[in-house]
Subunit: 483 residues, 2 copies
């Protein structure tokens, strides 16, 4: 305790800071700024905790008192008779400093400040943020925010976000976002469009205390986190971030979307979270050396995470491709060759097996155009034999599986045989795509992505499946380089 | 062999060939290889014509006779008592030459050969294809195929495809695909996932007669076609294609996905449709000069067409951006600046209007982060005032409109006010994206994309909306260059 009260700045101080674990596994939370009125953020926050099934104690706090959703509201956090792990602050900016003092007195060590209107809003705000930090340092508190939607910890059924969501799916995907809305948009999208589950989400906001490096350090060590996505505008302490990233990247894939690449982007970043622009080339090279994978589009964080959660990264870059259309096969060959993967002709034995299911006179190759086989012997037999032949080829490190979903002629309904084959080659990833009739594609996606034994990611277009595989291979290579 | 060399013998011959119009507006069609058995291609082909409401006469043909779906089957096309506009051939390859002779005798001038097993299958097939062409030339017939799913003409409720589809939406999007499955996958995807309608689809197959240039020439002149997408592997007559493309691009946007860029792609193309690889850089430059827009991904053909159908291209490159998250604003600023568009600070007057709806102390800029306004005064008022202010700015040529769709706090349900504003600025395109809760995003997409007055395209991620706008601007520039 004595050490934590020490205000001496510097490295030693950092070493003595509390870890972030309790933020993600609290036994109790005080919602400061709770509201009785449905639709208000302070109401939603309490409702969310109930909706997602938080097992710890919820202590709503509001000077007006009363009840929210059947839970007693305390006028002040100091009135709560039990200890409080996490304090979540929703009150307007001018009240936050006093709330921080109350929390310090109460001995609350973990605080999430949702409220905005601090450094990002100008001088007065910056002054208040400084005061908040002084209180926190003195009391040895850790602070996430301000100006964020806060955190989510799916395994603990805990969240500070004020955005409503009814469904929670626990899984291995964690991510860090500088900005709260970015974090919440992404989590909602994953929960409502994808089939994989979430682990931790950290919206850092102004990073008055907990920053990207702290968050990544926690996620790197977190055994429940299987893949980390990060959206970052500026790095306050680039060197430490790179150190932490290198450590994390040894253990799991770390995907980074770094914005502010251009002048316009840097200008927008400065006004958004007061981030300083850094030379993008320097950051790029530092991230590469750290073994981190840089992604180009926001949505890639969502799409790539899925593949890493469902499938192992390929041990090599030699791809076997099944295509439902010769044209898409050509498109995929282009994408594969220009993205660091390799697509070579199949071995004689594999070709022989593929020829056996293909009508006479039709040439087979890699990509394997499966349509002639499908039209001759049906889709189940074609895909079964085709996949078995290709994945068994010792010169193949992974399979990109393209499927056409059309009513009648070639809808693939049964996928058990794909899973059976996939199970036999646990080291060879399968990444799939399907196109055709959307509703049938969605059915197939659900079947492949929610199978209890092996989950195969499905994308909507051919090039994306190839790009995802190339990113998985990049991870294999990066890991070797930093090993 | 140089790509741009004219290898077509008898240019004058071409001039006397029949145009393609009748393929897309036939009064009657003979389905040769029709079948009584549900599920067979020859059954599906007839069923499709009935399903989509073809108004012309359908003559199923099969030596076995009988009936299919209540329609009499003729043993031979020559037995049909009335004239036949289009002959559609589904019988196995060895029978096709004889069928061609029958069609020639019957005086059928337009033939679509679905059957595969010709040049793409080897020497014997190539010989048969040569024979087919001799018959066709002698009789002055035009042939699409072989080895394709054929054509679709939505305005005529006509299709030769054997893939089942129940719904047909007529619209302005036409496209050409070298490969039949590519064409059909795309049309099914558009019909089941998008809200815009189709005009003509041409799956060229082996191009024994009708090739990319013929098809593009037709679509360029076709008043019902508003935008043309092309998937091409190889060009038999590059010079003619470029000439035709230039003419078409003056009238409407022409989007080209050219594959076979890499060695692996070229190898796949050769075995797919016997296409010769050409130097990709030469093609790229020729296409640029022709005013054509080259796209990178298969799905871009679908996504970009939508924007061109719904919105005018921007007259200049100055973008106004509304973002639901500061982070996405930075990401968009990056994308905009690196894609030929420009994002500059707003004029004083615009800033003043945006400040009026934004809580005090929060800086406003371009991108305009709308979240503070939404949380203060609600989403309808924020988006209404925000959009009005930005689109009215004389220094802005187009608006990228980002929306967060979350239950409760900021779901945008009513979009009439957006349409009212859009109507007042018919020269300034609006391209939108939304993220958050998928089902709400889809509801919003439907509302915006199916509005009877102004249709605003909605994409699922921020960078895509920016990329689409940049492609629309590229079209503006290309058109100026070839004018």
């Amino acid at each position: 305790m004595g050490l934590l009260q020490n205000t001496e700045p510097g490295r030693r101080m950092r070493m003595t800071k509390l870890g972030l674990e309790t933020f993600f596994n609290p036994k109790s939370v005080a919602v400061i700024g709770a509201s009785k009125t449905p639709g208000k953020l302070g109401y939603n926050a309490v409702q969310n905790l109930l909706n997602i099934g938080f097992k710890g104690k919820i202590y709503p706090v509001n000077p007006k008192g009363g009840e929210v959703l059947g839970i007693k509201i305390y006028p002040n956090v100091k009135d709560i008779p039990e200890p409080v792990d996490v304090g979540q602050i929703l009150v307007p900016a001018p009240f936050v400093v006093d709330i921080m003092k109350d929390l310090a007195e109460k001995g609350v060590k973990y605080v999430v400040i949702i409220t905005g209107g601090f450094t990002e809003a100008g001088e007065d705000g910056a002054k208040m943020e400084g005061e908040i930090m002084r209180i926190a340092k003195k009391a040895g508190m850790r602070v996430i925010g301000p100006n964020t939607t806060g955190i989510l910890s799916a395994p603990a059924s805990f969240s500070t976000t004020f955005l409503n969501f009814d469904n929670m799916r626990v899984g291995g995907a964690s991510y860090i976002a500088q900005t709260g809305n970015f974090a919440s948009i992404t989590l909602l999208w994953i929960l409502t469009k994808e089939h994989y589950g979430l682990c931790r989400v950290i919206g850092l906001g102004n990073k008055c205390d907990v920053d990207d490096a702290d968050a990544l350090e926690f996620l790197g060590e977190d055994p429940k986190t299987k893949v980390v996505g990060i959206y970052v505008e500026g790095l306050k302490n680039g060197r430490r971030f790179i150190e932490v990233a290198k450590k994390a990247a040894k253990k799991k894939p770390v995907l980074v979307l770094k914005s502010g690449r251009t002048k316009a982007g840097a200008r927008a970043a400065a006004s958004h979270t007061a981030s300083l622009a850094a030379d993008d080339a320097i950051i790029e090279s530092a991230l590469r050396q750290a073994g981190v994978i840089r992604v180009k589009h926001y949505i890639d964080l969502v799409n790539y995470a899925k593949a890493f959660i469902y499938q192992p990264p390929p041990k090599g870059n030699r791809m076997g491709v099944i295509t439902p259309s010769g044209g898409l096969g050509v498109v995929m060959a282009d994408t594969i060759e220009s993205s660091g993967l390799s697509i070579k002709p199949f071995s004689g034995e594999t070709l022989k097996k593929l020829e056996e299911i293909t009508p006479p006179l039709i040439k087979v190759g890699n990509p394997f155009d499966i349509w002639p086989a499908v039209s001759a012997i049906g889709n189940v037999k074609s895909f079964d034999e085709g996949l078995k032949a290709i994945i068994a080829d010792p010169e193949i490190d992974g399979v990109i599986l393209g499927i056409m979903q059309n009513k009648g002629v070639d809808e693939l309904k049964d996928i058990d045989f794909i899973i059976e084959t996939a199970k036999k080659y646990p080291d060879k990833p399968i990444v799939s795509f399907a196109t055709g009739e959307y509703q049938l594609v969605e059915k197939l996606r659900k079947a492949l992505e929610t199978n209890p034994e092996v989950r195969i990611p499905l994308y909507y277009y051919a090039e994306q499946a190839c790009e995802v595989m190339s990113v998985m291979y990049e991870y294999t290579e990066r890991r070797k380089a930093i090993a």
